[in-house]
Amino acid sequence: MEPTQTDILISRIVDDEASAGDWSAFERLAELEPDVWRRLAQEQRDAASLARAVASATEVADAVELPLGVSGHGAEQAFTARFGGWAGWAIAAAVALAWLGFNEIPGMQGRDIANGNRAGIATIPVSADAALNQYREVGEQEGRYLGEMPKVMVEARPIPGGAQIEVIYLRQLLEREVVRGMYGFAEDDQGRATPVPIEPTVIQASDPL
């Protein structure tokens, strides 16, 4: 069913794309078929309804920024915005573990790990890498740390002087935790997020938290 010339004319008028010639043609047509005025009004109403629905559905786009790391509005914010509260908590926990001394973790006092006995005074790691290694070792022993996923580069920029490049990347640590329940979010009939209990059998490995 190809659109008729009337369909095209009405569509152009509704879309504010009609030329003076189009308006003249429409007026000539309306003299012969006055019903086209009713059609025009109806299609303008439909177009306004659809525009309202699309504007409402797509307004979320204005809040989505590019993950470029400048002035604190970088990848970390985009990542946190996307994955929400739990992910933020998990990252904070991982960072906290990484920076805490081994003996500061409750229940771990006095236990030996691969690189020596750390009983007694809390040990302050000498570097972030050392702290992260400690976190990995403790996490593995607790059954919490499972491994690390490949790093994802977010941005690279030259450091003034030109000899070095600053690279910002996303580091993904895989952890395990036992929880009481899991919920997904569905929309109710008013478009609000509503928690829905999820059976573990429907959860896929690729789903983000």
Partner: protein, 203 residues
């Protein structure tokens, strides 16, 4: 004819080195100018239960990481459309459920109810969007794009890589099909009411 023509319409070739501040600014402008209609593309192709914001984040990340694949800056819009369609299709394949762990002492967060305009207008808007969703994507996509402010026939044609006349024809046909869908739905409701009323009266 009216048209909000963005200053990026011509997309003058930027300094394409990934290591310059000017490049970041260019990328931001590209995203700012195009994210609304990219959202409309996602809306036209995504499964109903897929989260639009998640998909926009995917497109934004791809723009940052892969924009160097676009050799001709004038082709950035068709490229963004392809990225958006791929993201929407991937969401369809995965059928992702957005999951959150609920800690024993944590309340489940729910979004506050937004202020709502006239309910009858909302119903009309929802019905029109539902009808548009039942169209073939070839018609649904230009129709939804036309609903985004500033998307003229010419800009839609540029994004879809189609002649302007084809875009115009598809939009006109899409409108007619949406109207027929809405009339059919209205008639169905009307018939149901008549039948139910008749049954009640006869009982």
């Amino acid at each position: 004819m009216s048209e909000e023509r963005g200053h990026l319409d011509g997309y003058p070739a930027p300094d394409r080195s990934p290591l310059t501040a000017g490049h970041d600014a260019w990328l931001r402008e590209v995203w700012s100018e195009n994210r609304r209609w990219v959202a409309a593309i996602l809306l036209a192709h995504k499964p109903k239960d897929a989260d639009l914001e998640d998909l926009l984040q995917d497109v934004a990340m791809t723009l940052v990481r892969r924009h160097q694949d676009v050799r001709d800056p004038a082709k950035i819009r068709p490229w963004l459309r392809t990225v958006a369609i791929n993201a929407a299709r991937a969401a369809g394949r995965k059928r992702k459920v957005r999951l959150r762990l609920v800690r024993p002492d944590a309340d489940v967060e729910t979004a506050p109810a937004p202020e709502r305009p006239d309910p009858s207008l909302l119903d009309e808007a929802r019905a029109a969007l539902d009808a548009a969703h039942r169209l073939h994507p070839d018609y649904r996509e230009p129709l939804l794009l036309r609903c985004v402010r500033g998307m003229s026939y010419r800009r839609i044609a540029q994004a879809l890589d189609l002649p302007v006349t084809t875009v115009e024809t598809r939009i006109a046909r899409a409108r007619r099909m949406v109207r027929e869908e809405l009339e059919f739905a209205e008639e169905t409701v009307s018939m149901r009411i008549t039948r139910d009323t008749g049954q009640t009266a006869g009982a």
